[in-house]
């Protein structure tokens, strides 16, 4: 058996995808012009699939901070925090993130993926139990492969499903099984843009003495009066023992973090391998992230703009008859009947100058095929109205929408 034979099925599916002309997984942004525009295939394209929720990648103050940091401290750290030491800015960033959440401790990682991978796999060890939502991000699943703990999945966003699994650990005739219970949740799920019923989950976790770890990757900035995420908007920050997040979305750079009040939290600095054995964030990134956090605090109107844009796109597509994710969210998932329709639709949109993500099994929950749109606070109303119009046209062409223009109930009579 050849090394690549085991990927035969995937290779075949991938070949199908590429027959459409473009490879959706190797798109080349020939030139990025702004948070919402890039040149792709030689044409100016509207970006609605880049997780750039506040549009801060081109924020002048963040860009200046990064440039200054490069001049002052160079382009990179060339090593890990434990080998090459921490720069003052790493420490300052950790202090600022901890303060942002009102937590005592913070650890910063080089990517959000590494934060989840390292923290989750280390917190739950031999004899412990890790309970994860079925729709968890790949970084959480990969942490599960690394941990010595027993891993059990519960149904997506279903507190009673979690409770059944915690109860089984308790009702065992072998007695209440010893070992810590760690429950992993996400603020906003990245494929359909839906939020966890966090308060209900927290109640279940309290009842069974389980630790709560929540990943606010897609909800940082978007949710809560101060943009701390779902833990803030549902009023349970104090009940979330570990909050993980990323700098690569709302904050417009790259990196991950974990905050906690646990007095022994810092021991993770010498136990979490994805922290110890990889180079730390370069000064420019640390500087732009610190500035981006200041912008998030100073400009709450960006959050309002983001949700206004969510409403424009979500309600616009819904009115045309598209099947969408269950609720408004900075990610709007558009359901399509199958993989090839999704890829054809995606390609037609790109030809019309609009870039979104296409998500097909096995990357999606329940085997659904999706166009995944992510909104930006600086999208204009005109851009999004245009997008709804374009998608409606393609939807009719592909037979996803009925060919008759959908009339409002009042107008139909």
């Amino acid at each position: 058996m050849g090394l690549f034979d085991r990927h035969a099925g995937l290779l075949e599916a991938y070949r199908d995808v590429r027959t459409t002309g473009y490879d959706p997984f190797q798109i080349r942004m020939e030139r990025v012009l702004s948070p919402t525009k890039a040149i792709i295939n030689g044409r100016e394209t509207l970006l609605v699939g880049t997780n750039n929720y506040f549009g801060l990648t081109f924020d002048p103050s963040c860009m200046e901070a990064a440039i200054e940091a490069i001049r002052a401290e160079g382009t990179g750290t060339t090593g890990s925090r434990i080998a090459n030491g921490s720069y003052s800015e790493h420490v300052a960033l950790e202090k600022e993130i901890a303060e942002f959440y009102g937590k005592k401790h913070c650890m910063v990682f080089t990517t959000g993926y590494q934060a989840n991978l390292g923290v989750i796999s280390t917190l739950a060890g031999q004899g412990d139990f890790l309970l994860i939502d079925a729709d968890s991000h790949a970084s959480i699943y990969d942490a599960c492969k690394m941990t010595q703990a027993e891993v059990v999945r519960f149904k997506h966003n279903d507190p009673s499903s979690l409770e059944a699994r915690l109860r089984r650990l308790k009702d065992s005739k072998e007695g209440d099984k010893p070992g810590n219970r760690v429950v992993v949740l996400e603020g906003i799920y990245s494929m359909l843009g839906d939020s966890a019923p966090l308060r209900e989950f927290v109640d279940v976790c309290k009842k069974y003495g389980a630790y709560v770890l929540i990943d606010e990757a897609h909800s940082l900035g978007a949710l809560g009066d101060n943009g701390r995420g779902l833990c803030e908007s549902t009023g349970v920050i104090d009940d979330c023992h570990f909050i993980v997040g990323t700098f690569s979305k709302t904050l417009g750079a790259i990196g991950g973090y974990c905050v906690s009040d646990d007095p022994d939290f810092d021991i993770l600095r010498v136990t979490v391998r994805s922290y110890m054995f990889t180079a730390s964030l370069p000064p420019s990134i640390v500087a732009s992230v610190r500035q981006a956090l200041r912008v998030v605090k100073a400009r709450p109107e960006l959050r309002t703009q983001l949700w206004d844009n969510v409403a424009t796109l979500y309600d616009g597509l819904k009115a045309q008859g598209f099947t969408l994710g269950p609720e408004h969210g900075p990610v709007v998932g558009v359901h399509l009947p199958d993989r090839m329709t999704a890829i054809g639709f995606w390609r037609a949109m790109l030809d019309a100058g609009i870039y979104v993500n296409v998500a097909v099994p096995p990357a999606t929950p329940n085997g659904v095929s999706l166009l995944r749109c992510s909104l930006c606070a600086v999208h204009t109303r005109e851009q999004l109205d245009h997008m709804v119009e374009v998608m409606t046209g393609i939807g009719r062409q592909f037979g996803v929408l009925s060919s008759q223009p959908k009339l409002r109930a009042a107008g139909a009579r």
Partner: protein
């Protein structure tokens, strides 16, 4: 039946020990909990039918990931349904070692007997 179960439970701490010490008693305990092997297999088959290929029937020897068109994610989702149906939790590392319908049924029964 009920009193027998209670008596057995008070006498011996765990069903796991039961299995080791006396298969007959373990079977009795399993029966009282209503987890019959045939029932577990029947339930598994209901979940797997949509993924059947051709005329080949699903049996205990069917290799779930190979003989059927079900993908790994759908297998894990099916396991979640079975977990709730039979009130057991199957760790992901255990699922990874399960290949056939028989193995899945045995795992569910063993875990059920221990619960």
């Amino acid at each position: 039946m009920r009193s027998l179960t209670l008596r057995l439970e008070s006498r011996l701490r765990t069903a796991h020990e039961l299995t080791v010490e006396n298969d007959g008693i373990a079977d009795t305990l399993t029966l009282t909990r209503g987890v019959l092997r045939a029932e577990v297999i029947r339930e598994i088959c209901v979940h797997l039918e949509p993924y059947q290929t051709g005329e080949k029937p699903i049996t205990g020897e069917t290799v779930i990931a190979k003989d059927l068109t079900i993908d790994s994610l759908a297998i894990m989702d099916m396991v979640m349904e079975l977990e709730d149906r039979f009130d057991v939790s199957i760790p992901m590392s255990v699922i990874a070692e399960i290949h056939t319908v028989d193995q899945l049924a045995d795992t569910i029964r063993d875990l059920g007997a221990r619960a």
